[in-house]
Amino acid sequence: MHDVKTYWFDCGPVTAIPLRGARTVVTPRREIAVFRTANNDIFALENKCPHKGGPLSEGIVHGHKVACPLHNWVFDLESGEALAEKACVRTFPVKIERGRIYLDMGVAASG
């Protein structure tokens, strides 16, 4: 682990993501899925299912979980862990301030 600087990137207003939906943030390294749950919580996960690479941002969001659109593996949005499989998808720091979403690019865009 090497130190990365925190760099909060403004990704736009929370309302740009539908409730129980997701949008992506495209970075040079990877695509990140930013989820908005029914209760307005925001989570950021790598937009790539560890099973066969399904785009998690397209899955059905239920509670703090998402079901991969390709073969229905279900992931916990907070931890990135799969519920029934031994697999995990990377999560990234996000925060909401004054109704806008900030993603920590220091982490998101580094190794």
Partner: protein, 823 residues
Amino acid sequence: MGQVDQTSVPTKIVVIGNGMAAGRAMEELFAKQRPPLQVTVFGAEPRVNYNRIMLSPVLSGEKTFEQIIIHDEAWYAKHCVRLRSGQPIVAIDRKAKTVVTSGGDQVPYDKLVIATGSQPFVIPVPGANLEGVVTFRDLDDVEKMHAAAATGGNAVVIGGGLLGLEAAAGLALKGMKVSVVHLMPTLMERQLDPSAGYLLEKAISERGIDVYTKANTEAILGSDRVTGVKLKDGAILPADLVVMAVGIRPNFGLGKAAGLDCNRGIVVDDWLRTSDPDIFALGECVEHRGQCYGLVAPLYEMAKVLASELAGEKPSGFVPAVTSAKLKVTGIDLFSAGDFSDDDENNEIVLRDPARGIYKRVVIHDNKIIGAVLYGDTEDGGWYFDLLKKGEDVGAIRDTLIFGQAYQGGSPLDPTAAVAALPDDAEICGCNGVSKGSIVAAITSGGLATLEDLRAKTKASASCGQCTGKVELLLAATLGESYESSGRKPMCKCTDLTHEEVRRLIKTKPLKSQPAVMQELGWKTSGGCPSCQPALNYYLLCDWPLEYKDDYQARFINERVHANIQKDGTFSVVPRMWGGVTSAAELRAIADVVDQFKIPMVKVTGGQRIDLLGVKKQDLPAVWAQLIANGLMSGFAYGKSLRTIKTCVGSEFCRFGTQDSTGLGIKLEKLMCGAWTPAKLKLAVSGCPRNCAESTVKDIGVICVDSGYDLHIAGAAGLHVKATDLLGHVDSEEEALEYIAAVAQKYREEANYLDRLYKWVEKTGLEHVRRAIMEDHDNRKALYERFLLSQRVARKDPWAERVAGRDLHEFMPLAVISRIAAE
């Protein structure tokens, strides 16, 4: 008041704002031993300190202003506080250490306390400053509302949160006709989950208040006085009074102008000190560790810390607190606390009593309560909140936790034993008033051994079905080993009801929204799961085509973006080709799109159309736009919906053809396109029994014969292969269209979600379908009419809607970052 050092000069404390936080801080301070102080309080409001929270009962007339005063004149006199009410402070001079009043007085301080509270947020729509538009924050606002209510008329409250609903209920009690306009799908969404929000909406509506959810205000109408409110969807609500209750903003302008560190509020540390060591701030105007507050409990904690600090003690500092909320509308009991956003069925315990309108949900993490939502019965709110705040381990009482504090102490029973232990007169079925005793009697002396028989004879669980689980447990407990469970398959883990039961109840109750279904049918989870959400969405859409609004987030990605997701995350696009017929112009348009968007594969499908594979998601709207411009539209190749209607050339060209099979196929497709069905629906029309269109392995197939049309149903050619059954014969094309649409409608209305048509026929019986379509002519006509009605809403091109701008968010990334900006 302890020993006071008479020799030292009293410290001059100036307090700006005479609200709830300031009032409590002074009370705490005067209760302490402390050095001599000289306190001056400036209040913008021309009155003494009162309990702002209780403005709601003052508005409704349940209390008078005198009853909500906290500190009367005598109190200020007793504590030698100089109260200067009606004198707002307009500036702070930190160098000179003075504050300036609106009258121009300069008043010196040694220590300054800012407690200016919040300002109601006014949404900047046209007309927001018209006469008759008010906010709900202080007594002046209440008096304005009372004046308006005196003449009756219409009131519109914008905002369906705590404040807005209290205003609405109060105005309704004062005799106004009230509407509430709320942006979100459910009321009080910050304090309640959708289930509790649904119950609340029901209770509010029962008071004669009209509730408009998902409603966005476009403008407030009127030339000098308000006359109405216009919503974004065009609706106009008449209004003589408009109350804006959409939120509050910390009131920190004074602090900011004085150069104090401010963010969302005046920034304070754990000891409520601002960036100036002689200036403190507390209440709603501050931001502490990134958080602002809007309820009094944490402000009272701040008041304790500040009083201790001002008294020269060394307090341990303010810690952010979990808050709980209650709505102060007489007759509506709700409570919420903590974090209840997680609706993972493993982490939540849900109890619903549809008959009594009760909903309770406790959210647990690592054996600790982290949140609770209670509706209808809030007696245990305090108990849960206490367990939550203390972080107590509830692992041992988890099974009985939801029944409340009174239930604790007994040893937990297994469910069968618990039912067996009930007294004979315990009511099992609330709808039909059937007691345990009469059910047991029906089993033992009546000889009934199945759920179905019990339902028929005793009516137990025959209405809402919510007690089905209990009735089954009673059967098991009474019959012991010999009971074979009915093998009913509940729809999913969220309910004991089967698909059939849920469908029936949606119609008979009637239930018109997902939260309504989940509450009234006693769902065991708070928000459903990926398997019941799409099913309920379909059932509601099918049964209430004009009233129910499609919930896209409950749909699988393909139906949300109207294309088929492929293994690499790209999409496939299939335009409709009516009856499998295309033209040079259409082919050219397709070819152009393929070139322009470098679509890697073009394939002819088994359903006689062309599939463009490997389209990038962000290209979809542009691809569609081009196709649409050339007269093509969505082929719904992705949906639980009508797919293709395969045809042969028929009498137009084929020497064996008996009827115009292509023409009929096109007409059918035009009639049925866009219809959502329980599972995909594929049709075919063949021009003669040689059956070139393979009609006999389709969901619905037509074989043309000299005398007319043979209608076949319930074929399959997928995982399962099955030839169709003959449904009957019709003579004319018009009849063929009507009969087929009627079959489709019956399937739409009766089948379980995801059951293909042959599965449904297998379960319900071919004879049942045949009689309903071929013999019961009124019934068939009614089915056909219902199909047409639902098509009025459904028959639109989803691609065109998206090209026109609908759901654009689906196709664009939220943000694209090319490289990290240099620092």
